[in-house]
Symmetry: C2
Subunit: 277 residues, 2 copies
Amino acid sequence: MLSREQLIAQIKQKRSFLCVGLDPDLDKIPEFLKGYPDPIFEFNKRIIDATKDLCVAYKPNSAFYEAYGIKGLQSLISTSKYLPADTLNIIDAKRGDIGNTSDKYAKAFFDDSDSGMDFDAITITPYMGNDSVTPYLKYDGKWVIILALTSSVGSKDFQYSEVDGGFLYETVIKKSNTWAGADRIMYVVGATKSTEFTNIRAHAPDNFLLVPGVGAQGGSLEDVCKYGMTKDCGLLVNSSRGITYAANGPDFADAARAEALKLQQQMEQELALAGII
Amino acid sequence: MLSREQLIAQIKQKRSFLCVGLDPDLDKIPEFLKGYPDPIFEFNKRIIDATKDLCVAYKPNSAFYEAYGIKGLQSLISTSKYLPADTLNIIDAKRGDIGNTSDKYAKAFFDDSDSGMDFDAITITPYMGNDSVTPYLKYDGKWVIILALTSSVGSKDFQYSEVDGGFLYETVIKKSNTWAGADRIMYVVGATKSTEFTNIRAHAPDNFLLVPGVGAQGGSLEDVCKYGMTKDCGLLVNSSRGITYAANGPDFADAARAEALKLQQQMEQELALAGII
């Protein structure tokens, strides 16, 4: 578990605000791993070992594990146990349901007594409002990362609806930001819309933003920093496929490290430019 | 798998549009079941046996299984395999993510080759728009049930935002209703807001509505039917706790049946009143 202060300290120490997305796909992982009892965990383990000094967060996407049923869940549990103690470990689950159901999802991902999983943070979809978020906040020190503006095509359908003279995603930030402080709430903000950061920062000046769209999805790190960075950094920039599938031979972990290192070096520059390190 | 025509035929034959929610909780199920290797499945099995002639749909809520980790997922898989072929079997998962992730969730719940689960329908949260819905529609004959208006306190936060001279939930229906026909898309509509049905029917005249709020959450079946019923019925009314926790002794399945029967009899009256049977 990382508090806001600890997260900021990690960013300064590692000179990085990189989040590595762990979205494994049996069709894409190196052939030699398939002989292991749990190929997905073996894949993740090697990616984690190769990148943990270069990133401050990991983000397994639940769907990629759920698709494999019991075996997939076992891989996710093993991965969650293997994640370092000094990274922010996010389950990208995009859950969102009424209070008594959110209680159960919170138990699944935040309380390892029955589920075996103890993540630090969870991504949440805001459509059902307050009671779909607050159950997670009952867990001391855990984070909720609320979808605000996403980088997908479908973001145009509802997130840009005009509400109160602004966009729906602004209403989502304005309202949800009253439910807890910037030490408990982050927002998902799509990096392909860099010019929107200014707008978002008007409503969420201090919150960390989880930016999923750099790398395979095509956002620019420079723009993200220009518009989204705060004096505490305030950014976690994710790369999944760009790192984990940099190569698919026996050298895949080295290739992943090389890609992570490139991003870390760019991030170090940005942090220095902003006077944070 | 049930097509729209088959669902309507089932409703007429069983004289019921009842959906039984399967949200098991180890703290609430009868003591004697706890000696079985899979108490949750044993509980569900008995509920299903006791109610299957009285309902046309079952709806396990994924969170209640996920909370128990591997054991919970095993209970959900066993339950999914046990669900009758002549009911619409809905996984209440409220997923919602970008296209490549939704592909994985669709595989998890609609394709039993790896996951062991083959549900007929899934509940989806619409915040991320089109590409968070369409991947499920690639599965022939499967249904997507989109959250429109929910019965929770938090529904006021965003669903009632004013958009285009109406409410956000109306925009959700209007737009998503163009992505597929009423043979593939249903909507979740909270029953505590019966007067809103008229409004919803203006945008979704033919779609089935899944109404979660009757019973423990307090909606009125009469109002739901008055405002929401179509010539094809067009309603699935859910009851979870009101049925499954009607008693918690050895007679729990009989008590569940008695509660389901009460609802079925009220539904039969409503169907007759509307001239559907």
